[in-house]
Amino acid sequence: MSLLTVKENMVMVNNGNIDIASSIANNNVVFDTKELNLWYGETHALKDINLKIKENEVTAIIGPSGCGKSTYLKTLNRMVELVPTVRTTGEISYKGQSILDKSFKVENLRTRVGMVFQKPNPFPKSIYDNIAYGPRIHGIRNKKILDEIVEKSLRGAYIWDEVKDRLKENAYGLSGGQQQRLCIARTLAIEPDVILMDEPTSALDPKSTLKIEDLVQELKKDYSIIIVTHNMQQAARISDRTAFFLDGEVVEFDVTDTIFTKPNDSRTEDYISGRFG
Protein backbone atom coordinates (compact mmCIF):
# COMPACT_ATOMS: atom_id res chain seq x y z
CA MET A 1 0.00 0.00 0.00
CA SER A 2 2.75 2.42 0.94
CA LEU A 3 4.62 1.47 -2.20
CA LEU A 4 1.55 2.36 -4.20
CA THR A 5 1.33 5.76 -2.54
CA VAL A 6 4.95 6.47 -3.40
CA LYS A 7 4.26 5.49 -6.97
CA GLU A 8 1.23 7.77 -7.11
CA ASN A 9 3.25 10.63 -5.72
CA MET A 10 5.83 10.07 -8.43
CA VAL A 11 3.10 10.39 -11.01
CA MET A 12 2.09 13.64 -9.33
CA VAL A 13 5.62 14.93 -9.51
CA ASN A 14 5.73 14.05 -13.18
CA ASN A 15 2.54 15.95 -13.71
CA GLY A 16 4.01 18.84 -11.86
CA ASN A 17 0.70 20.50 -11.23
CA ILE A 18 -0.39 18.97 -7.97
CA ASP A 19 0.83 20.32 -4.68
CA ILE A 20 2.15 17.22 -2.89
CA ALA A 21 2.65 18.97 0.43
CA SER A 22 -0.93 20.09 0.72
CA SER A 23 -2.35 16.77 -0.36
CA ILE A 24 -0.30 14.98 2.30
CA ALA A 25 -1.31 17.53 4.88
CA ASN A 26 -4.96 16.85 4.07
CA ASN A 27 -4.25 13.18 4.37
CA ASN A 28 -5.06 12.77 0.67
CA VAL A 29 -8.72 13.56 1.26
CA VAL A 30 -10.23 15.39 -1.69
CA PHE A 31 -13.81 15.71 -0.48
CA ASP A 32 -14.64 15.73 3.21
CA THR A 33 -18.40 15.66 3.78
CA LYS A 34 -19.69 16.36 7.28
CA GLU A 35 -23.30 16.08 8.40
CA LEU A 36 -24.65 16.89 4.96
CA ASN A 37 -28.42 17.16 4.71
CA LEU A 38 -30.31 18.07 1.58
CA TRP A 39 -33.95 18.76 0.83
CA TYR A 40 -35.81 19.09 -2.46
CA GLY A 41 -38.66 21.26 -1.23
CA GLU A 42 -40.10 19.09 1.55
CA THR A 43 -38.40 15.86 0.49
CA HIS A 44 -35.43 14.99 2.67
CA ALA A 45 -33.12 13.50 0.03
CA LEU A 46 -29.79 13.25 1.89
CA LYS A 47 -29.57 12.56 5.61
CA ASP A 48 -26.49 13.20 7.74
CA ILE A 49 -23.95 12.16 5.14
CA ASN A 50 -20.38 11.78 6.41
CA LEU A 51 -17.84 10.68 3.82
CA LYS A 52 -14.14 11.19 3.21
CA ILE A 53 -13.24 10.67 -0.42
CA LYS A 54 -9.57 10.10 -1.21
CA GLU A 55 -7.43 11.50 -3.96
CA ASN A 56 -6.43 9.45 -6.98
CA GLU A 57 -8.81 6.66 -6.22
CA VAL A 58 -11.98 5.51 -7.87
CA THR A 59 -14.84 5.82 -5.43
CA ALA A 60 -18.05 4.10 -6.45
CA ILE A 61 -21.45 5.07 -5.12
CA ILE A 62 -24.05 2.34 -5.38
CA GLY A 63 -27.62 1.95 -4.22
CA PRO A 64 -31.16 1.48 -5.51
CA SER A 65 -33.01 4.14 -7.53
CA GLY A 66 -33.97 7.19 -5.52
CA CYS A 67 -31.43 6.52 -2.75
CA GLY A 68 -29.76 9.89 -3.24
CA LYS A 69 -26.54 8.75 -4.90
CA SER A 70 -26.85 11.05 -7.92
CA THR A 71 -27.99 13.91 -5.69
CA TYR A 72 -24.88 13.47 -3.54
CA LEU A 73 -22.65 13.43 -6.61
CA LYS A 74 -24.22 16.63 -7.93
CA THR A 75 -23.75 18.28 -4.55
CA LEU A 76 -19.99 17.86 -4.96
CA ASN A 77 -19.94 20.33 -7.87
CA ARG A 78 -23.13 22.10 -6.76
CA MET A 79 -24.93 21.17 -9.97
CA VAL A 80 -27.77 20.22 -7.65
CA GLU A 81 -28.45 23.95 -7.28
CA LEU A 82 -29.93 24.00 -10.78
CA VAL A 83 -33.04 22.64 -9.05
CA PRO A 84 -34.54 25.83 -7.59
CA THR A 85 -36.07 24.31 -4.44
CA VAL A 86 -32.87 22.73 -3.12
CA ARG A 87 -31.73 23.46 0.43
CA THR A 88 -28.64 22.07 2.15
CA THR A 89 -27.10 22.07 5.62
CA GLY A 90 -23.77 20.69 6.79
CA GLU A 91 -20.39 21.00 5.18
CA ILE A 92 -18.41 19.71 2.25
CA SER A 93 -14.80 20.69 2.06
CA TYR A 94 -12.83 20.32 -1.12
CA LYS A 95 -9.12 20.27 -0.29
CA GLY A 96 -9.83 22.22 2.87
CA GLN A 97 -12.15 24.80 1.31
CA SER A 98 -15.77 24.86 2.28
CA ILE A 99 -17.63 24.66 -1.01
CA LEU A 100 -21.23 24.99 0.17
CA ASP A 101 -20.57 28.58 1.27
CA LYS A 102 -22.42 30.92 -1.04
CA SER A 103 -19.21 32.97 -1.23
CA PHE A 104 -17.43 30.03 -2.87
CA LYS A 105 -17.81 30.59 -6.60
CA VAL A 106 -19.43 27.59 -8.29
CA GLU A 107 -17.62 28.41 -11.54
CA ASN A 108 -14.29 27.87 -9.74
CA LEU A 109 -15.48 24.65 -8.18
CA ARG A 110 -16.73 23.23 -11.48
CA THR A 111 -13.43 24.03 -13.14
CA ARG A 112 -11.65 21.85 -10.56
CA VAL A 113 -14.40 19.22 -10.42
CA GLY A 114 -15.49 18.07 -13.86
CA MET A 115 -18.55 16.01 -14.60
CA VAL A 116 -19.60 13.29 -17.04
CA PHE A 117 -23.33 12.77 -17.32
CA GLN A 118 -25.58 9.75 -17.61
CA LYS A 119 -26.54 10.35 -21.22
CA PRO A 120 -23.76 11.46 -23.57
CA ASN A 121 -24.39 15.18 -24.02
CA PRO A 122 -22.01 16.62 -26.61
CA PHE A 123 -22.84 20.08 -27.94
CA PRO A 124 -24.26 20.20 -31.47
CA LYS A 125 -20.89 21.52 -32.62
CA SER A 126 -17.80 19.97 -34.18
CA ILE A 127 -15.70 17.48 -32.26
CA TYR A 128 -12.97 20.11 -32.03
CA ASP A 129 -15.30 22.81 -30.73
CA ASN A 130 -16.71 20.43 -28.14
CA ILE A 131 -13.28 19.87 -26.62
CA ALA A 132 -12.23 23.50 -27.00
CA TYR A 133 -15.42 24.70 -25.30
CA GLY A 134 -14.07 24.52 -21.75
CA PRO A 135 -10.66 26.11 -22.45
CA ARG A 136 -12.39 28.85 -24.46
CA ILE A 137 -14.81 29.82 -21.72
CA HIS A 138 -11.84 30.04 -19.40
CA GLY A 139 -10.20 32.51 -21.74
CA ILE A 140 -7.85 30.54 -23.99
CA ARG A 141 -7.98 31.99 -27.51
CA ASN A 142 -4.61 30.94 -28.93
CA LYS A 143 -5.23 28.47 -31.75
CA LYS A 144 -1.99 26.57 -31.17
CA ILE A 145 -2.67 26.05 -27.49
CA LEU A 146 -6.26 25.00 -28.24
CA ASP A 147 -4.98 22.49 -30.83
CA GLU A 148 -2.67 21.04 -28.22
CA ILE A 149 -5.39 20.78 -25.59
CA VAL A 150 -7.78 19.15 -28.06
CA GLU A 151 -5.26 16.50 -29.06
CA LYS A 152 -4.11 15.82 -25.50
CA SER A 153 -7.66 15.54 -24.19
CA LEU A 154 -8.79 13.25 -27.00
CA ARG A 155 -5.72 11.08 -26.49
CA GLY A 156 -6.42 11.06 -22.76
CA ALA A 157 -9.88 9.66 -23.41
CA TYR A 158 -8.51 7.11 -25.94
CA ILE A 159 -10.60 8.43 -28.78
CA TRP A 160 -7.95 10.39 -30.71
CA ASP A 161 -7.27 7.68 -33.29
CA GLU A 162 -10.97 7.33 -34.05
CA VAL A 163 -11.64 11.03 -34.57
CA LYS A 164 -8.36 12.68 -35.57
CA ASP A 165 -9.36 12.85 -39.25
CA ARG A 166 -12.82 14.26 -38.60
CA LEU A 167 -12.30 16.92 -35.94
CA LYS A 168 -14.42 19.40 -37.90
CA GLU A 169 -17.38 17.05 -38.13
CA ASN A 170 -20.42 17.31 -35.91
CA ALA A 171 -20.10 15.35 -32.67
CA TYR A 172 -23.54 13.84 -33.20
CA GLY A 173 -22.12 11.76 -36.03
CA LEU A 174 -20.28 9.63 -33.45
CA SER A 175 -21.68 6.45 -31.88
CA GLY A 176 -23.08 6.63 -28.35
CA GLY A 177 -19.95 5.13 -26.82
CA GLN A 178 -17.70 7.49 -28.76
CA GLN A 179 -19.87 10.43 -27.72
CA GLN A 180 -19.44 9.49 -24.09
CA ARG A 181 -15.65 9.25 -24.46
CA LEU A 182 -15.78 12.61 -26.24
CA CYS A 183 -17.61 14.00 -23.21
CA ILE A 184 -14.91 12.57 -20.96
CA ALA A 185 -12.27 14.20 -23.19
CA ARG A 186 -14.22 17.45 -22.99
CA THR A 187 -14.03 17.24 -19.20
CA LEU A 188 -10.29 16.50 -19.32
CA ALA A 189 -9.80 19.65 -21.38
CA ILE A 190 -10.55 21.88 -18.38
CA GLU A 191 -7.78 20.03 -16.48
CA PRO A 192 -9.82 19.18 -13.42
CA ASP A 193 -8.59 17.39 -10.30
CA VAL A 194 -11.74 15.39 -9.83
CA ILE A 195 -14.08 13.78 -12.35
CA LEU A 196 -17.62 13.03 -11.27
CA MET A 197 -19.36 10.37 -13.32
CA ASP A 198 -23.11 9.93 -13.07
CA GLU A 199 -23.89 6.45 -14.37
CA PRO A 200 -21.74 7.12 -17.42
CA THR A 201 -22.34 3.74 -19.04
CA SER A 202 -26.04 3.24 -18.40
CA ALA A 203 -26.95 4.36 -21.94
CA LEU A 204 -24.19 2.34 -23.61
CA ASP A 205 -23.79 -1.16 -25.01
CA PRO A 206 -21.49 -3.68 -23.24
CA LYS A 207 -18.54 -3.11 -25.55
CA SER A 208 -18.59 0.68 -25.12
CA THR A 209 -19.09 0.16 -21.40
CA LEU A 210 -15.91 -1.90 -21.22
CA LYS A 211 -13.97 0.83 -23.01
CA ILE A 212 -15.16 3.44 -20.54
CA GLU A 213 -14.25 1.16 -17.62
CA ASP A 214 -10.73 0.69 -18.99
CA LEU A 215 -10.50 4.42 -19.43
CA VAL A 216 -11.49 5.02 -15.81
CA GLN A 217 -8.64 2.74 -14.72
CA GLU A 218 -6.20 4.80 -16.75
CA LEU A 219 -7.59 8.14 -15.59
CA LYS A 220 -7.31 7.39 -11.90
CA LYS A 221 -3.54 7.76 -12.16
CA ASP A 222 -4.04 11.47 -12.68
CA TYR A 223 -7.52 12.22 -11.37
CA SER A 224 -9.76 11.43 -8.45
CA ILE A 225 -12.87 9.76 -9.79
CA ILE A 226 -16.23 9.44 -8.15
CA ILE A 227 -18.64 7.27 -10.07
CA VAL A 228 -22.30 6.60 -9.44
CA THR A 229 -23.37 3.30 -10.88
CA HIS A 230 -26.39 1.03 -10.97
CA ASN A 231 -24.19 -1.81 -12.02
CA MET A 232 -22.68 -3.57 -9.03
CA GLN A 233 -20.28 -5.65 -11.09
CA GLN A 234 -18.99 -2.40 -12.51
CA ALA A 235 -18.42 -0.97 -9.04
CA ALA A 236 -16.60 -4.17 -8.05
CA ARG A 237 -14.46 -4.14 -11.20
CA ILE A 238 -13.29 -0.57 -11.26
CA SER A 239 -13.49 1.05 -7.84
CA ASP A 240 -11.10 1.18 -4.90
CA ARG A 241 -13.74 2.15 -2.39
CA THR A 242 -17.51 1.84 -2.46
CA ALA A 243 -20.22 3.71 -0.63
CA PHE A 244 -23.62 2.08 -0.36
CA PHE A 245 -26.50 4.58 -0.18
CA LEU A 246 -30.02 3.69 0.93
CA ASP A 247 -32.94 6.10 1.47
CA GLY A 248 -30.64 9.10 1.56
CA GLU A 249 -28.19 7.65 4.07
CA VAL A 250 -24.76 6.12 3.75
CA VAL A 251 -25.23 2.59 5.00
CA GLU A 252 -21.65 1.53 4.52
CA PHE A 253 -18.45 2.96 3.08
CA ASP A 254 -15.36 0.82 2.81
CA VAL A 255 -12.73 -0.67 0.55
CA THR A 256 -14.56 -2.20 -2.40
CA ASP A 257 -13.30 -5.71 -1.69
CA THR A 258 -14.69 -5.58 1.82
CA ILE A 259 -18.07 -4.23 0.65
CA PHE A 260 -18.45 -7.04 -1.85
CA THR A 261 -16.98 -9.93 0.15
CA LYS A 262 -17.70 -9.31 3.82
CA PRO A 263 -19.99 -6.28 4.29
CA ASN A 264 -20.69 -5.16 7.85
CA ASP A 265 -24.31 -4.28 7.37
CA SER A 266 -26.92 -6.87 6.47
CA ARG A 267 -28.66 -4.32 4.16
CA THR A 268 -25.49 -4.00 2.11
CA GLU A 269 -25.29 -7.75 1.81
CA ASP A 270 -28.95 -7.94 0.77
CA TYR A 271 -28.42 -5.30 -1.90
CA ILE A 272 -25.23 -6.65 -3.43
CA SER A 273 -26.57 -10.19 -3.44
CA GLY A 274 -29.53 -8.88 -5.44
CA ARG A 275 -32.22 -9.40 -2.82
CA PHE A 276 -33.62 -5.93 -3.51
CA GLY A 277 -32.99 -2.89 -5.68
Binding site: N77, M79, L82, P84, V106, E107, N108, L109, R110, T111, G114, M115, F117, K119, N121, P122, F123, P124, Y133, G134, I137, H138, Y172, C183, R186, T187, I190
Partner: protein
Protein backbone atom coordinates in the same frame (compact mmCIF):
# COMPACT_ATOMS: atom_id res chain seq x y z
CA UNK B 1 -60.71 -16.25 -24.79
CA UNK B 2 -62.00 -15.70 -21.29
CA UNK B 3 -63.32 -12.15 -21.28
CA UNK B 4 -63.56 -11.38 -24.96
CA UNK B 5 -66.27 -13.10 -26.96
CA UNK B 6 -64.89 -13.81 -30.44
CA UNK B 7 -68.33 -13.61 -32.10
CA UNK B 8 -69.15 -10.29 -30.45
CA UNK B 9 -65.81 -8.83 -31.48
CA UNK B 10 -66.33 -9.87 -35.10
CA UNK B 11 -69.88 -8.53 -35.10
CA UNK B 12 -68.82 -5.10 -33.85
CA UNK B 13 -65.73 -4.85 -36.02
CA UNK B 14 -67.52 -3.43 -39.11
CA UNK B 15 -69.20 -0.73 -37.04
CA UNK B 16 -65.91 0.33 -35.46
CA UNK B 17 -64.17 0.56 -38.81
CA UNK B 18 -67.09 2.50 -40.33
CA UNK B 19 -66.97 4.98 -37.44
CA UNK B 20 -63.29 5.52 -38.06
CA UNK B 21 -63.91 6.24 -41.74
CA UNK B 22 -66.74 8.68 -41.01
CA UNK B 23 -64.58 10.67 -38.60
CA UNK B 24 -61.76 10.71 -41.10
CA UNK B 25 -64.13 12.31 -43.63
CA UNK B 26 -65.30 14.89 -41.07
CA UNK B 27 -61.75 15.95 -40.27
CA UNK B 28 -60.98 16.17 -43.98
CA UNK B 29 -64.03 18.39 -44.52
CA UNK B 30 -62.90 20.69 -41.71
CA UNK B 31 -59.57 21.10 -43.46
CA UNK B 32 -61.15 21.61 -46.89
CA UNK B 33 -63.46 24.33 -45.51
CA UNK B 34 -60.50 26.56 -44.68
CA UNK B 35 -58.84 25.86 -48.01
CA UNK B 36 -62.01 26.70 -49.97
CA UNK B 37 -62.44 30.04 -48.20
CA UNK B 38 -58.81 30.88 -48.93
CA UNK B 39 -59.19 29.85 -52.58
CA UNK B 40 -62.29 32.02 -53.07
CA UNK B 41 -60.56 34.96 -51.45
CA UNK B 42 -57.50 34.69 -53.65
CA UNK B 43 -59.63 34.11 -56.75
CA UNK B 44 -61.71 37.27 -56.18
CA UNK B 45 -58.70 39.40 -55.46
CA UNK B 46 -56.78 38.12 -58.47
CA UNK B 47 -59.75 38.62 -60.81
CA UNK B 48 -60.28 42.18 -59.53
CA UNK B 49 -56.66 43.10 -59.90
CA UNK B 50 -56.04 41.63 -63.36
CA UNK B 51 -54.84 44.35 -65.70
CA UNK B 52 -54.13 46.77 -62.86
CA UNK B 53 -50.80 45.51 -61.57
CA UNK B 54 -48.30 47.06 -63.94
CA UNK B 55 -45.00 48.90 -63.66
CA UNK B 56 -46.67 52.22 -63.01
CA UNK B 57 -48.83 50.69 -60.27
CA UNK B 58 -45.79 49.22 -58.50
CA UNK B 59 -43.47 52.22 -58.79
CA UNK B 60 -45.79 55.20 -59.09
CA UNK B 61 -46.71 57.84 -56.55
CA UNK B 62 -50.07 58.09 -54.87
CA UNK B 63 -52.75 59.85 -56.91
CA UNK B 64 -56.48 60.44 -56.87
CA UNK B 65 -56.51 59.48 -60.53
CA UNK B 66 -57.01 55.72 -60.57
CA UNK B 67 -55.18 55.31 -63.89
CA UNK B 68 -52.04 57.03 -62.60
CA UNK B 69 -52.05 55.87 -58.98
CA UNK B 70 -49.11 53.79 -57.67
CA UNK B 71 -48.26 52.14 -54.38
CA UNK B 72 -44.49 52.71 -54.17
CA UNK B 73 -44.99 55.23 -51.35
CA UNK B 74 -47.06 52.79 -49.29
CA UNK B 75 -44.63 49.94 -49.99
CA UNK B 76 -41.68 52.09 -48.87
CA UNK B 77 -43.66 53.18 -45.80
CA UNK B 78 -44.28 49.55 -44.87
CA UNK B 79 -40.62 48.59 -45.43
CA UNK B 80 -39.31 51.55 -43.42
CA UNK B 81 -41.69 50.67 -40.64
CA UNK B 82 -40.41 47.09 -40.62
CA UNK B 83 -36.91 48.47 -40.26
CA UNK B 84 -38.11 49.97 -36.99
CA UNK B 85 -40.23 47.03 -35.84
CA UNK B 86 -37.71 44.24 -36.52
CA UNK B 87 -34.78 45.43 -34.37
CA UNK B 88 -37.00 46.83 -31.61
CA UNK B 89 -39.02 43.64 -31.18
CA UNK B 90 -36.03 41.32 -31.60
CA UNK B 91 -33.91 43.09 -29.00
CA UNK B 92 -36.68 43.72 -26.48
CA UNK B 93 -38.43 40.41 -27.12
CA UNK B 94 -35.39 38.14 -26.90
CA UNK B 95 -33.99 40.13 -23.98
CA UNK B 96 -37.23 39.78 -22.03
CA UNK B 97 -37.49 36.08 -22.86
CA UNK B 98 -33.91 35.45 -21.68
CA UNK B 99 -34.57 37.29 -18.44
CA UNK B 100 -37.84 35.53 -17.71
CA UNK B 101 -36.68 32.05 -18.65
CA UNK B 102 -33.10 32.05 -17.44
CA UNK B 103 -32.48 34.76 -14.87
CA UNK B 104 -35.75 35.57 -13.09
CA UNK B 105 -36.43 33.63 -9.91
CA UNK B 106 -39.40 31.37 -10.45
CA UNK B 107 -41.93 32.82 -8.08
CA UNK B 108 -45.07 34.91 -7.74
CA UNK B 109 -43.68 37.99 -9.45
CA UNK B 110 -42.44 35.98 -12.40
CA UNK B 111 -45.80 34.23 -12.67
CA UNK B 112 -47.65 37.58 -12.64
CA UNK B 113 -45.41 39.03 -15.37
CA UNK B 114 -45.83 35.87 -17.42
CA UNK B 115 -49.62 35.94 -17.20
CA UNK B 116 -49.70 39.60 -18.18
CA UNK B 117 -47.53 39.05 -21.22
CA UNK B 118 -49.84 36.27 -22.37
CA UNK B 119 -52.83 38.58 -21.78
CA UNK B 120 -51.21 41.41 -23.71
CA UNK B 121 -50.94 39.11 -26.72
CA UNK B 122 -54.74 39.02 -26.74
CA UNK B 123 -55.39 42.76 -26.47
CA UNK B 124 -57.17 44.11 -29.61
CA UNK B 125 -54.79 45.90 -31.93
CA UNK B 126 -56.82 49.11 -31.93
CA UNK B 127 -56.06 49.50 -28.23
CA UNK B 128 -52.37 49.49 -29.08
CA UNK B 129 -53.15 52.19 -31.61
CA UNK B 130 -54.63 54.35 -28.86
CA UNK B 131 -51.54 53.65 -26.72
CA UNK B 132 -49.25 54.62 -29.60
CA UNK B 133 -51.26 57.77 -30.24
CA UNK B 134 -51.04 58.77 -26.57
CA UNK B 135 -47.37 57.97 -26.00
CA UNK B 136 -45.49 58.34 -29.26
CA UNK B 137 -47.58 60.72 -31.35
CA UNK B 138 -48.78 63.09 -28.61
CA UNK B 139 -46.75 62.79 -25.36
CA UNK B 140 -43.41 62.40 -27.16
CA UNK B 141 -44.57 64.79 -29.87
CA UNK B 142 -43.31 62.64 -32.72
CA UNK B 143 -46.38 63.23 -34.85
CA UNK B 144 -47.60 60.48 -37.18
CA UNK B 145 -44.20 59.57 -38.59
CA UNK B 146 -42.75 56.17 -39.46
CA UNK B 147 -40.94 55.87 -36.10
CA UNK B 148 -44.21 56.36 -34.19
CA UNK B 149 -46.02 53.82 -36.36
CA UNK B 150 -43.16 51.33 -36.06
CA UNK B 151 -42.97 51.63 -32.29
CA UNK B 152 -46.74 51.20 -32.01
CA UNK B 153 -46.64 48.02 -34.08
CA UNK B 154 -43.62 46.87 -32.03
CA UNK B 155 -45.68 47.10 -28.85
CA UNK B 156 -48.42 45.15 -30.58
CA UNK B 157 -46.28 42.15 -31.54
CA UNK B 158 -43.83 42.25 -28.64
CA UNK B 159 -45.88 39.83 -26.49
CA UNK B 160 -45.99 37.35 -29.38
CA UNK B 161 -42.24 37.61 -29.93
CA UNK B 162 -41.54 37.17 -26.21
CA UNK B 163 -43.72 34.09 -25.90
CA UNK B 164 -42.22 32.53 -29.05
CA UNK B 165 -38.68 33.23 -27.82
CA UNK B 166 -39.50 31.75 -24.40
CA UNK B 167 -40.79 28.61 -26.05
CA UNK B 168 -37.65 28.37 -28.17
CA UNK B 169 -35.49 28.67 -25.04
CA UNK B 170 -37.54 26.05 -23.21
CA UNK B 171 -37.09 23.67 -26.13
CA UNK B 172 -33.31 23.64 -25.71
CA UNK B 173 -32.57 20.36 -23.93
CA UNK B 174 -31.40 20.79 -20.34
CA UNK B 175 -28.51 18.38 -20.84
CA UNK B 176 -26.76 20.89 -23.11
CA UNK B 177 -26.75 23.72 -20.57
CA UNK B 178 -25.81 21.22 -17.84
CA UNK B 179 -22.73 20.26 -19.84
CA UNK B 180 -21.75 23.92 -20.06
CA UNK B 181 -22.38 24.71 -16.38
CA UNK B 182 -20.50 21.53 -15.49
CA UNK B 183 -17.33 22.95 -17.01
CA UNK B 184 -17.48 26.12 -14.96
CA UNK B 185 -19.21 28.35 -17.49
CA UNK B 186 -21.18 31.29 -16.16
CA UNK B 187 -24.83 31.69 -16.98
CA UNK B 188 -24.13 34.29 -19.67
CA UNK B 189 -21.43 32.11 -21.29
CA UNK B 190 -23.89 29.23 -21.33
CA UNK B 191 -26.62 31.40 -22.82
CA UNK B 192 -24.32 32.86 -25.46
CA UNK B 193 -22.58 29.66 -26.52
CA UNK B 194 -25.17 26.95 -26.00
CA UNK B 195 -28.72 28.18 -25.43
CA UNK B 196 -28.94 31.03 -27.95
CA UNK B 197 -27.43 29.13 -30.90
CA UNK B 198 -29.90 26.30 -30.28
CA UNK B 199 -32.88 28.60 -29.69
CA UNK B 200 -32.21 31.23 -32.34
CA UNK B 201 -33.94 29.48 -35.28
CA UNK B 202 -37.11 29.14 -33.20
CA UNK B 203 -36.83 32.72 -32.00
CA UNK B 204 -36.38 34.08 -35.52
CA UNK B 205 -39.22 32.00 -36.89
CA UNK B 206 -41.55 33.36 -34.22
CA UNK B 207 -40.32 36.90 -34.77
CA UNK B 208 -40.77 36.78 -38.54
CA UNK B 209 -44.29 35.41 -38.21
CA UNK B 210 -45.08 38.20 -35.74
CA UNK B 211 -43.55 40.69 -38.17
CA UNK B 212 -45.80 39.49 -40.95
CA UNK B 213 -48.74 40.08 -38.65
CA UNK B 214 -47.51 43.64 -38.02
CA UNK B 215 -47.24 44.27 -41.76
CA UNK B 216 -50.93 43.56 -42.23
CA UNK B 217 -52.15 45.62 -39.26
CA UNK B 218 -54.42 48.52 -40.15
CA UNK B 219 -56.37 49.47 -37.04
CA UNK B 220 -53.48 50.89 -34.97
CA UNK B 221 -52.31 52.94 -37.95
CA UNK B 222 -55.75 54.46 -38.53
CA UNK B 223 -55.82 55.48 -34.86
CA UNK B 224 -52.46 57.23 -34.96
CA UNK B 225 -53.78 59.18 -37.94
CA UNK B 226 -52.07 58.13 -41.14
CA UNK B 227 -53.31 60.50 -43.89
CA UNK B 228 -55.05 59.20 -46.99
CA UNK B 229 -52.86 60.97 -49.51
CA UNK B 230 -49.12 61.60 -49.33
CA UNK B 231 -47.40 62.36 -52.63
CA UNK B 232 -43.65 62.34 -51.66
CA UNK B 233 -41.93 59.02 -50.89
CA UNK B 234 -40.74 58.57 -47.29
CA UNK B 235 -36.96 58.81 -47.09
CA UNK B 236 -36.35 57.93 -43.46
CA UNK B 237 -37.98 56.98 -40.19
CA UNK B 238 -38.83 60.61 -39.34
CA UNK B 239 -40.97 61.13 -42.45
CA UNK B 240 -44.72 61.05 -42.64
CA UNK B 241 -45.92 57.95 -44.41
CA UNK B 242 -48.66 55.63 -45.46
CA UNK B 243 -48.52 51.83 -45.50
CA UNK B 244 -49.90 49.04 -47.70
CA UNK B 245 -52.83 48.05 -45.45
CA UNK B 246 -53.76 51.76 -45.06
CA UNK B 247 -53.77 52.11 -48.82
CA UNK B 248 -56.06 49.09 -49.13
CA UNK B 249 -58.32 50.54 -46.46
CA UNK B 250 -58.69 53.98 -48.04
CA UNK B 251 -59.15 52.68 -51.57
CA UNK B 252 -61.77 50.24 -50.35
CA UNK B 253 -63.89 52.86 -48.54
CA UNK B 254 -63.55 55.29 -51.45
CA UNK B 255 -64.53 52.69 -54.06
CA UNK B 256 -68.14 53.90 -53.74
CA UNK B 257 -66.93 57.18 -55.24
CA UNK B 258 -64.53 55.83 -57.85
CA UNK B 259 -65.22 52.22 -58.83
CA UNK B 260 -61.65 51.63 -60.09
CA UNK B 261 -60.31 52.10 -56.55
CA UNK B 262 -61.63 48.59 -55.80
CA UNK B 263 -59.26 47.23 -58.44
CA UNK B 264 -56.39 49.21 -56.99
CA UNK B 265 -57.20 47.83 -53.52
CA UNK B 266 -57.17 44.29 -54.95
CA UNK B 267 -53.81 44.93 -56.60
CA UNK B 268 -52.40 46.21 -53.32
CA UNK B 269 -53.69 43.11 -51.54
CA UNK B 270 -51.77 40.97 -54.03
CA UNK B 271 -48.58 42.91 -53.31
CA UNK B 272 -49.12 42.59 -49.57
CA UNK B 273 -49.80 38.85 -49.89
CA UNK B 274 -46.61 38.37 -51.90
CA UNK B 275 -44.66 40.24 -49.21
CA UNK B 276 -46.17 38.03 -46.49
CA UNK B 277 -45.50 34.93 -48.54
CA UNK B 278 -41.83 35.90 -48.89
CA UNK B 279 -41.54 36.54 -45.15
CA UNK B 280 -43.20 33.26 -44.20
CA UNK B 281 -40.98 31.37 -46.63
CA UNK B 282 -37.98 33.01 -45.00
CA UNK B 283 -39.23 31.79 -41.62
CA UNK B 284 -39.58 28.22 -42.89
CA UNK B 285 -36.18 28.40 -44.57
CA UNK B 286 -34.49 29.60 -41.39
CA UNK B 287 -36.18 26.91 -39.34
CA UNK B 288 -35.12 24.11 -41.66
CA UNK B 289 -31.66 25.38 -42.44
CA UNK B 290 -30.36 26.38 -39.02
CA UNK B 291 -32.21 24.06 -36.70
CA UNK B 292 -29.63 22.04 -34.78
CA UNK B 293 -30.26 18.37 -34.37
CA UNK B 294 -29.33 16.48 -31.25
Amino acid sequence: MKYLNADQVTKRMDGRIAKNNILKMLFLLATIFGLIVLAILIYRVVVDSIGWIDWNFLTGRQSTDAERAGIMGALLGTLWMMLVVAPVTLILGIGTAIYLELYAKKGRLQAIIQTNISNLAGVPSIVYGILGLTIFVRAMEMGNIILAGGLTLSLLILPIVIVAAQEAIRAVPGFLSEASYGMGATKWQTIKNVILPAALPGMLTGAILALSRAIGETAPLTVIGIPALIIPFPEGIFDKFTALPMQIYYWTIDSSLVAEYANLAAGTIIVLLVLLFVLNSAAIFIRNKFQQRF
